[in-house]
Symmetry: C2
Subunit: 338 residues, 2 copies
């Protein structure tokens, strides 16, 4: 299997991306292909003489930046690492494309270059949302589509269900609809319709509405929502995590005695810190395009790059996208509207 | 000043509500009036022989329960503690009404009995959102109106601004619009219109869009959003708080050594626990009705009741509702649409 990594995307590219690829080679036999400015990439790779022969480099002369307008960038920067990487997936020269670059451009590129899965109106970004001490929940859509229709949410659920089962390894995942109350009459008219579509789909283990408070507590395995709600949920969690960490740190450094206590608790505090560390949880797949594409956090460092690569392997190797295509094609017969 | 407290509302009424009122008498000279079943209330009050003469009891023979349909309950249970309490505010027999009862009924009762402030289309519930270690932010709407128009958000901002300044004591509060990005073109068409209305209002210190991650970090003093977004933000925070607490507890109890560390850190852990404790932060005012009404959490115990009463005092005593009425009346001249 060939894993293509965008060597130029993200705040710490190429150095940390290259380092992350090198780290990943210690845990996987699969081929890793770095795409980007070959001079820069080789310069970084030369720091790791043992690992460098395990990593291929494909040259791309252009870079899509965070400031680029997504659609225009994809159309005009034909020799960018992102466009070239996506084309390699399309042409069967690679099995997955991973990038920490411009999210909008990655989504637009996925749609224009790989195409949408037939029947999917809106591809989504599915975040792997950490449940402290209990693994992850898949939050889909986590921010790509601010406004959605009920059928979009059904598509998110069907694809998210497959990703959770096949890539993240949770069998028969509990699918919940994020809403402001548990009763099926809660929320907007759109959510009420989505509830009915999810309830009537035979392929889903739909557990009904879940309130946002249940998501961090592990109340479902796949949390379905529009991208606006997904963004609010994810960003609130991120902010809370930062806020709690700052509070803990300040309190533990308060007095000499508290510093001693913190020293005694060092192993536990390290474990807690690790739970909060997004770089442990892998990247966010773009669901609904005809190929495996994974978005990494823009500020990813080597550890996040390594984990994203390793956790993405089952996405590329098991024909997950093909399974999604089949499930989406069956969506109407699977959903018996009363 | 006369503070009316619903003796029958909430999961722990009347015992904890009565106890909370008794605690409050230690910190305020204002009159506290408990409303509800007088036999039950006197029975509870008899437990506090010293404080009981400081608390008046007004009898109400009916109770609105959590299961009651809000509008029907307000219309049919004329002798309930909630309807009677709101009528007392309307008739000038009390300056504020505080209840831990059915939120929907309290909102409906506020609207039917006290009436809406002229110019306010949708009253809102404003939550006092805890910023760990840094006080509170006012989140408005926190759940009353799942779908809003741009002018509703402007009204929330104008009222929330006054509440933050006059009741919570923050001068010139920073008003932010909760959105999925900071640029003024972000979000739905409704939010883009709301952005312009807030930006063009002279009475507000509008700091622009704030992402949800900034809210727990104290990025604004008044966070304006529709009730759906407010609910997601608030409930995610609640769930994260619970999840973090559980993780901390589990880790600290892990080994003998970690238990010792926890013992050393006892004062800091207690302080952290207190930061997470919603009962410290006071209740949620219903903004937009012609009287001071405050909702307490349904599971409020004595400490939450006491704090809600004490923190609500400036709401009742300073003519805050009258100031809101004036500001809403001026809203069109204050908002110069370009």
């Amino acid at each position: 299997m060939r894993i293509i990594v965008d060597g130029m995307g993200g705040d710490h590219a190429p150095a940390e991306v290259v380092k992350g690829c090198v780290e990943a080679t210690k845990f996987t036999e699969h081929t890793i292909i770095l795409i980007g400015d070959e001079t820069l990439l080789h310069k970084e790779l030369d720091k790791y003489p043992k690992a460098k022969k395990r990593i291929q480099v494909v040259h791309a002369s252009e870079v899509i930046t965070m400031e680029d307008a997504p659609v225009r960038a994809i159309r005009s920067k034909k020799d960018s690492s992102m466009v070239k990487g996506l084309n390699m997936v399309k042409n069967g020269e690679g099995d997955i494309f991973i990038s920490a670059g411009n999210s909008g451009a990655l989504m637009a590129g996925g749609i224009f270059i790989l195409g949408r899965i037939r029947g999917v109106e809106r591809p989504a970004i599915a975040a792997t949302y950490p449940i402290l001490g209990k693994g992850v929940c898949l939050l889909v859509d986590s921010g790509a589509n601010a406004e959605c229709r009920a059928n979009n949410l059904l598509e998110f659920a069907v694809m998210g269900n497959i990703y959770m089962e096949r890539v993240l390894g949770k069998s028969n995942p509990r699918v919940g609809l994020v809403n402001i109350g548990v009763e099926e009459t809660k929320g907007t008219a759109m959510l009420q319709s989505a509830y009915q579509l999810l309830k009537n789909n035979n392929g889903l283990n739909f557990i009904g509405n879940v309130e946002a408070r249940e998501v961090p507590l592990g109340g479902c395995d796949v949390a379905v929502c529009d991208g606006f709600v997904g963004n609010i949920l994810l960003k609130t969690t991120e902010g809370m995590g930062k806020s709690v960490s700052a509070l803990l740190k300040a309190r533990l450094m308060e007095t000499l005695r508290s510093k001693m206590g913190a020293l005694v608790l060092a192993p536990q505090l390290a474990a807690i810190k690790k739970e909060f560390d997004y770089s442990e949880y892998g990247g966010a797949p773009i669901l609904g395009v005809r190929g495996a594409v994974v978005k990494m956090h823009g500020s990813s460092k080597a550890n996040a790059v390594k984990n994203t690569i390793l956790k993405a392997i089952p996405y590329a190797e098991q024909g997950v996208v093909a399974t999604m295509e089949e499930a989406i094609a069956r969506i109407e017969e699977d959903t018996c509207v009363e």
